[in-house]
């Protein structure tokens, strides 16, 4: 007599779950909103230093990462549709592409960060301190914001991997796709945040 299971069966409410996910996404956006406030204030106070520092970042790597995330967002949305068409094989393939794109993003990020650190651009490094406070703040924000975003990517990879396994062993099916949909919502949120981070750090020079 599994009491909690009984309750969950009675109270399955997909609309409710999605609503909960949307509320959670609000909280995530607000988490980043605090950082965007910090960014805009320091950009306003140090316009020249921020513009110059942004030139240190590689637009190519940033663009590749943006494309990778956009593709992954498309594939997970397609996975939500394909599970409703009862095409398990296609769903699994699309989820796999999503995960691979996320990993591509992380690998790129790793090389990008390592490159910056090799050149002495990391928080409180002597190079940055010699350049002045504008650069210190720019790279502080860069590492903090893209780092927090990368953490969300990692969480997303784990989440989508769980969804992958559950689709595989049929615990997510066309009549119970809400976890897949919610992971998709989460993933789009991560994508949208990147869409803002990319121009703010890479393109405004």
């Amino acid at each position: 007599m599994d009491s909690s299971a009984v309750i969950q069966n009675i109270h399955r409410d997909d609309e409710g779950s999605k609503m909960g996910m949307w509320l959670f996404i609000f909280t995530e956006l607000l988490l980043f909103a605090g950082l965007f406030i910090v960014y805009s204030i320091y950009r306003y106070l140090n316009p020249a230093a921020f513009a110059l520092a942004a030139e240190q970042l590689s637009v190519t790597i940033g663009t590749i990462n943006t494309i990778a995330l956009l593709i992954s967002s498309a594939t997970i949305a397609m996975a939500s549709s394909s599970i409703r068409l009862k095409n398990k094989k296609l769903t699994l393939f699309l989820l796999l592409v999503t995960i691979i794109m996320a990993i591509v993003f992380m690998v790129n990020k790793y090389f990008e960060w390592m490159g910056k650190i090799d050149h002495g651009f990391f928080p409180s490094s002597p190079t940055l301190q010699s350049l002045g406070s504008g650069d210190t703040l720019f790279f502080g924000l860069y590492f903090f914001m893209t780092g927090l975003h990368a953490l969300h990517i990692v969480i997303g990879i784990v989440l989508i991997a769980i969804v992958f396994i559950r689709v595989k062993n049929n615990s997510i099916t066309d009549n119970n796709p809400v976890l897949l949909d919610n992971s998709g919502l989460y993933w789009h949120m991560v994508d949208v945040i990147w869409i803002f981070l990319f121009p703010l750090f890479y393109l405004i020079t």
């Binding site: 007599m1 009491s3 909690s4 309750i7 779950s17 909960g20 909280t27 988490l31 590492f143």
Partner: protein
């Protein structure tokens, strides 16, 4: 499944046998009532810890100079008192205990929308508390910045800031999860017929609170992460020597922490809005106005954070704006007070302990609220900033407001939660001691503040001696009252006479189920036809 339901029929949630036995049946339970009680026991534990720290501070202030502890210990103690009381007791207090227990009962649901998430939020709360309190036992000593963790001291001090900051961060998660859960529950799980404006007022205030929890807490989370970043990586956002700005920290901190004050007070107002009509045997005056003022407080509360920083350095325009908005946010609170008083007008009042707590709430909340207006005025604020006046104001609102409402709520819902009745004479005695002690403790601090005694000092000049003695004696009277109340309730929970379904004559849905409720709350989901306070 039908069979199972009949076998559960008259077993209270306390005796219900689930998958686990013993203590596991509680700490792994997804039943909202058990989770509510789990929160209750943990919060009371932390509350008593915080009370002891408060008593120690008052003891130190009994005489000028070093009385029982040195300055560093005093700094650590007021920080811990603040962190424990704010993050571990008052913010989760009413929503997590009574919200969890009563929300589904009051809206006619069998549980909250996400029972497992609910259990998770308790575990996250406990984990956050352990992390925060671990700072006590590590080398370096407990943090000494005050609960506000102001930069730049919070990343310069050698004490254990990181655990405290991370603990508060984790506790924020718990708060967010509870908020999401309550919003979805209220949107999706109201009983058939219970339209928005037929919902009792306590769920309404929980709804407002939940929105503040999910919209404000993330800002605190990111601010605390930035403090951690300052300490670990030297990112320099708040460090003037690296180009950062410590004032920005204050802004970010209060963007969360001012709305957090409304997280503390709104559910307290909700509980009072339940108690007063029940004991007045009269429907609440101006139901819709109370609802709208709840939402107005939740909304305007976002835009007043600057009034914590009148002396920190802001533009004149910002000062005026924040001051005006601060006066504005007082209006909906005052409207509620008028509504509560009007409810009692020409009512047949039952004089029972919950009602005493409710009216004393009105008394202390008025003092707290009006002294808040004094602080919201720009010129007066410059004089009173960082004095004992602020401490007195804050405690009149948070201890007097939320604390009295918590006490009222526990006396009101005790028969429902434990299924037994307490001794009302003893409860009243406890209340008298508590009320007198409370005012003796905090009223002198208004005068001390006006006279210029700064807060957060372990020492003071001789002319402040008299009021400080009165204040310290007040703390002992208050503690006596608290002990009487606790002994009374513990005794009642074990040996009190069995309570009926509706001992006070309440009309909301939680009084239609057994005391204590069965595991399923309602064997059949009720259909709501009338408003919540259908007295006469």
């Amino acid at each position: 499944m039908e069979n199972q339901e009949t076998t559960w029929k008259h077993v209270s949630f306390r005796e219900h046998k689930g998958k686990y036995k013993g203590i596991l049946a509680w700490i792994l339970s997804t039943d909202h009532k058990r989770i509510g009680l789990l929160y209750f026991y943990t919060i009371i534990g932390f509350f008593l810890t915080g009370v002891c720290l408060g008593l120690a501070m008052k003891l130190e202030l009994l005489a000028p100079g070093k009385t029982v502890m040195d300055a560093a210990t005093y700094n650590a103690i007021f920080t811990l008192h603040g962190v424990i009381m704010i993050f571990l007791v008052v913010i989760p207090g009413l929503p997590a205990v009574f919200g969890n227990f009563m929300l589904p009962l009051m809206i006619g649901a069998k549980d909250v929308a996400f029972p497992r998430l609910n259990l998770l939020s308790w575990w996250v709360y406990v984990f956050g508390a352990i992390v925060a309190l671990s700072s006590l036992f590590m080398q370096g000593g407990p943090p000494d910045t005050g609960w506000t963790f102001y930069a730049p001291y919070s990343f310069k001090t050698s004490t254990n800031m990181l655990p405290a900051v991370l603990g508060a961060f984790i506790l924020g998660f718990s708060s967010i999860l509870t908020g999401i859960n309550f919003i979805v529950t209220i949107h999706r799980m109201r009983a058939p017929g219970m339209t928005w404006f037929k919902m009792p007022l306590f769920p309404w205030t929980l709804y407002g609170t939940a929105w503040i929890q999910i919209l404000a807490t993330p800002i605190l989370a990111v601010t605390l992460m930035l403090i951690a970043g300052e300490r670990l990586l030297n990112i320099g956002f708040f460090d003037p020597s690296l180009g950062g700005d410590p004032i920005l920290y204050q802004h970010l901190f209060w963007i969360y922490s001012h709305p957090a004050v409304y997280i503390m007070i709104l559910p307290a107002m909700g509980a009072i809005s339940e108690i007063i009509p029940t004991f007045s045997n009269k429907s609440i005056f101006g139901y819709k106005v109370i609802v709208i003022s709840t939402l107005a407080i939740a909304f305007v509360g976002y835009f007043v954070w600057g009034h914590h920083m009148f002396t920190s350095g802001m533009s004149g325009t910002a000062l005026y704006t924040f001051s005006i908005l601060t006066f504005l946010v007082a209006i909906p609170s005052a409207i509620k007070v008028f509504n509560w008083v009007s409810t009692m007008h020409k009512a047949s009042i039952q004089l029972d302990p919950p009602f005493f707590w409710a009216v004393s709430f009105l008394f202390v909340f008025m003092i707290g609220g009006l002294s808040g207006l004094a602080l919201g005025a720009l010129s007066v604020n410059v004089h009173l900033h960082d004095t004992a006046f602020v401490v007195a104001h804050f405690h009149y609102i948070v201890f007097g407001g939320t604390g009295f409402a918590f006490m009222g709520a526990i006396h009101y819902w005790f028969p429902k939660m434990w299924g037994r009745m307490y001794n009302t004479r003893m409860a009243t005695t406890g209340w008298i001691f508590f009320f007198i002690g409370f005012n003796t403790l905090y009223l002198p601090m208004f005068f001390l503040g006006v006279a210029g005694m700064p807060r957060r000092y372990y020492d003071y000049v001789d002319r402040f001696h008299g009021p400080n003695i009165i204040s310290t004696i007040g703390s002992w009277v208050l503690f006596t009252g608290l002990m009487i109340i606790i002994v009374n309730l513990i005794h009642a929970a074990k040996n009190g006479p069995v309570a009926s379904k509706d001992p006070w004559g309440g009309k909301t849905l939680e009084w239609t189920v057994d005391s204590p409720p069965t595991f399923e709350n309602f064997e059949e989901i009720p259909v709501v036809e009338k408003g919540p306070y259908d007295y006469r």
